[in-house]
């Protein structure tokens, strides 16, 4: 545990003892600690099944292998490689920061850089955008206000900071008091309309909490995409070299 974590823990303990109520930004810090901070795994490897369900109910299933590395005080890195279906096999997506994302298209043997304005594009026909699949701190880009506190969760209202380069203006986030992770989010676009909704299930995994299922509903289109995570492995000491164009081009075993 580093100093920051110890101070936070003391603060939260005292808060509980004396009934101090947490502010929205303090709760958001807890979320960040669990997702990208000191309480998140050093690295995660998993098999992800992506099920895309159209408004008419037809389904498409994609299987991916993903590797994530948690970097303290920096954006996390993530590499995703498609394993099926055949027409997207070996397509790869590498996120190093909000400004540095790469897509590998094996058909053209080409690594394409994703410009920040293209980050809100749909990721391979799913309801997730490239941006949604990146991993970054909420606190860095949003101010949080505590709207409601229940026995099991806090409800936060996240407003985009004035200079933040993010597509979502406003997020309503339900945070589990047990896991300190979001369980539900309502995402609003620049016009103030409800754009997407996510439902997230997380489970304890050793000393961590890890999301095992995320459902993203596209409110406007009536479709949804489910991500199911399996074969989760944490803290394997993944080499930084995995998160490079060199590995992005490689086939998955």
């Amino acid at each position: 545990m580093n100093k920051k974590t110890i101070l936070f823990s003391i603060f939260f303990l005292l808060s509980a003892l004396f009934g101090w109520s947490l502010t929205g930004n303090e709760i958001l810090k807890k979320v960040d600690a669990r997702t990208v901070g000191s309480e998140a795994p050093e690295d995660v490897q998993m098999i992800m099944t992506m099920k895309i369900v159209s408004p008419s109910g037809s389904e498409k299933v994609r299987e991916l292998k993903t590797w994530t590395k948690n970097n303290e005080n920096e954006d996390d890195w993530r590499l995703m490689k498609f394993m099926s279906p055949p027409d997207v096999r070996d397509v790869g997506f590498l996120t190093l920061s909000d400004e540095q994302m790469y897509l590998y298209l094996p058909e053209f043997h080409r690594i394409r850089r994703i410009a920040s304005h293209n980050k809100s594009d749909s990721f391979m026909g799913s309801d997730f955008s490239y941006e949604d699949l990146g991993i970054s701190s909420f606190e860095k880009y949003y101010d949080a206000e505590l709207i409601k506190e229940e026995n099991d969760f806090w409800l936060l209202k996240l407003s985009k900071k004035p200079d933040a380069d993010k597509p979502y203006e406003l997020i309503e986030m339900w945070v589990s008091k047990e896991s300190n992770l979001p369980v539900r989010m309502k995402i609003y676009d620049a016009s103030g309309a409800l754009s997407k909704e996510t439902i997230q299930e997380s489970r304890p995994f050793g000393p961590y909490w890890v999301p095992v299922k995320i459902t993203m509903k596209n409110i406007k289109e009536g479709s949804r995409t489910e991500l199911n995570m399996d074969e989760i492995k944490t803290d394997q000491g993944l080499d930084s070299e995995i998160f490079t164009p060199r590995f992005l081009k490689r086939s998955v075993r």
């Binding site: 159209s54 096999r89 080409r110 850089r113 410009a115 293209n118 070299e241 490079t244 490689r250 086939s251």
Partner: protein
């Protein structure tokens, strides 16, 4: 047939071994059909009725890939083409087959598209070594890589107007060493074990004869000697959040060049072609500006000093008195470049926009003034002088990206003449890995002194059905 038997034997030999290790079998089945929308009795490239089939063929790809160990992977791909109604015949350009074209004149072809082994951390950590026939990524532009001289453009299929072959390049047999100094900094050395030659379409002698009427064509190729192999270096890194590559290539032009015209009889001329040497210094960058993606490539091409020749006749004598004149084919070094931008406009589910400014198409060269006047090289012709183009497209996806509409176009700027090629396309994903595509190649503008203008008398409509497995 011998070739087919050889490749089948190879596959049967390799396959049982790979099954023991690790093998992924994948491939594609494709039916491509195109029609001429206009009647054309005058050419210059095609003569046909309106509604006549331009192309009907089946393509299949079969790829075996996998790992022999943690460090060693392999990939072998066989392609086949069936073309029951051949568009071109080899009658007027038999040399095309010797250029390794996918023999459009033949009803069927089967060949090894790629076959390579990749060894990661070869000899020491960070060094990847790929050996065999392979497609090497070189440059950052979208399809029109002016710095890429390693992988010759598939010119034979380019003129089928199948969008899959627009700017498509062919894998080459090479030793490819990539040494990663860090995650984003690498030094690459490629030794190409033969000359790089673009396959040419059959019956297209008119394209390579510089607008002159030929009687016979002689193509000079070099001996397969060690000294006639090519090589290239590239250094790539990320600087100020921009991908940067600096490269050097020493090798040959991928397309044959006219360097001599010889009278061989009354009203008969022999055209001599060769693949001259060149060096290319390349710079490529890709990054982001004002939240739009950008890329650029600059190639500084240094051709070899090469003499061309032609016979000048002096009128008044009978038979005409001919004098051989020798002159440089090239003036000196010259540039080719491309600048590109892409951006997604927030309209509907987002319209993806892509635009590139290109100075120098893959077949264009900067010839000397004498070569221009004696051989008829000019802007706006295949194998002609360098000219400028704008390539742009707008792409809109609907129905969960199952339906994609693309409006593409090429504007070319010749000498006081211009032409616009409109390339609309509609792609529908019937199921995962099953796609239907329909589109066209519609040309307007001047048909004189433009590269694509003459196709306005043809206009193509195509359909493609693809299944991946």
């Amino acid at each position: 047939m011998k070739k087919t038997v050889f490749f089948l034997s190879l596959a049967l030999l390799v396959f049982p071994q790979t099954v023991k290790a690790d093998v992924t079998v994948s491939g594609q089945f494709k039916l491509f059909t195109s029609l001429f929308l206009k009647q054309n009795d005058t050419g210059p490239y095609f003569i046909h009725d309106s509604g006549e089939f331009a192309n009907k063929r089946i393509e299949t790809r079969l790829r075996f890939s996998g790992f022999l160990s943690d460090q060693i992977s392999y990939a072998v791909r066989f392609d086949s083409y069936s073309q029951p109604d051949a568009l071109f015949s080899s009658d007027s350009f038999p040399e095309s087959s010797s250029l390794g074209a996918p023999t459009l004149a033949e009803p069927f072809d089967f060949f090894l598209y790629e076959g390579n082994i990749k060894i990661s951390d070869f000899l020491f950590h960070g060094l990847d070594f790929t050996l065999g026939k392979q497609r090497i990524q070189w440059g950052t532009a979208d399809m029109v890589n002016v710095v890429d001289n390693l992988n010759p453009v598939d010119f034979a299929n380019f003129l089928t107007f199948d969008p899959d072959y627009f700017g498509e390049r062919r894998p080459q047999t090479a030793l490819n060493f990539e040494y990663y100094l860090s995650g984003f900094t690498k030094i690459q050395f490629v030794w190409l074990l033969s000359r790089q030659i673009s396959p040419l379409p059959a019956d297209f002698s008119g394209l390579v004869t510089g607008g002159l009427t030929s009687s016979s064509i002689r193509i000079e190729t070099e001996n397969k000697l060690l000294r006639n192999t090519n090589f290239a270096f590239r250094f790539a890194t990320v600087l100020l959040n921009t991908d940067i590559g600096v490269s050097y290539y020493k090798g040959n032009y991928n397309l044959p060049m006219l360097y001599g015209v010889t009278p061989v009889g009354p009203a008969e001329l022999e055209f001599s072609y060769t693949y001259p040497q060149k060096q290319v210094l390349g710079l490529d960058v890709a990054g982001e500006v004002l939240s739009a993606g950008f890329w650029a490539e600059l190639a500084y091409i240094i051709p070899e000093d090469m003499d061309a020749f032609a016979y000048i006749s002096f009128p008044g004598n009978e038979p005409p008195y001919l004098v051989k004149e020798t002159f440089p084919l090239f003036e000196g070094p010259y540039f080719k470049y491309v600048l590109g931008l892409d951006y997604t406009a927030d309209i509907g589910t987002g319209i993806y926009l892509n635009a590139q400014y290109l100075h120098g198409f893959f077949d264009e060269t900067d010839y000397s003034g004498t070569a221009e006047s004696l051989f008829g090289f000019k802007k706006g012709m295949f194998f002609g002088e360098i000219q400028d183009f704008i390539l742009a497209s707008a792409e809109y996806s609907m129905l969960r990206e199952n339906l994609k509409i693309e409006l593409g176009g090429i504007v070319e700027f010749g000498d006081h003449e211009s032409a616009f090629s409109f390339m609309p396309s509609l792609e529908y994903k019937i199921k995962d890995a099953v796609t239907f595509q329909a589109g066209g190649f519609i040309v307007s503008g001047s048909e004189n002194n433009t590269k694509f203008g003459p196709f306005k008398n043809d206009n193509i409509l195509f359909f493609a059905f693809k299944t991946d497995f």
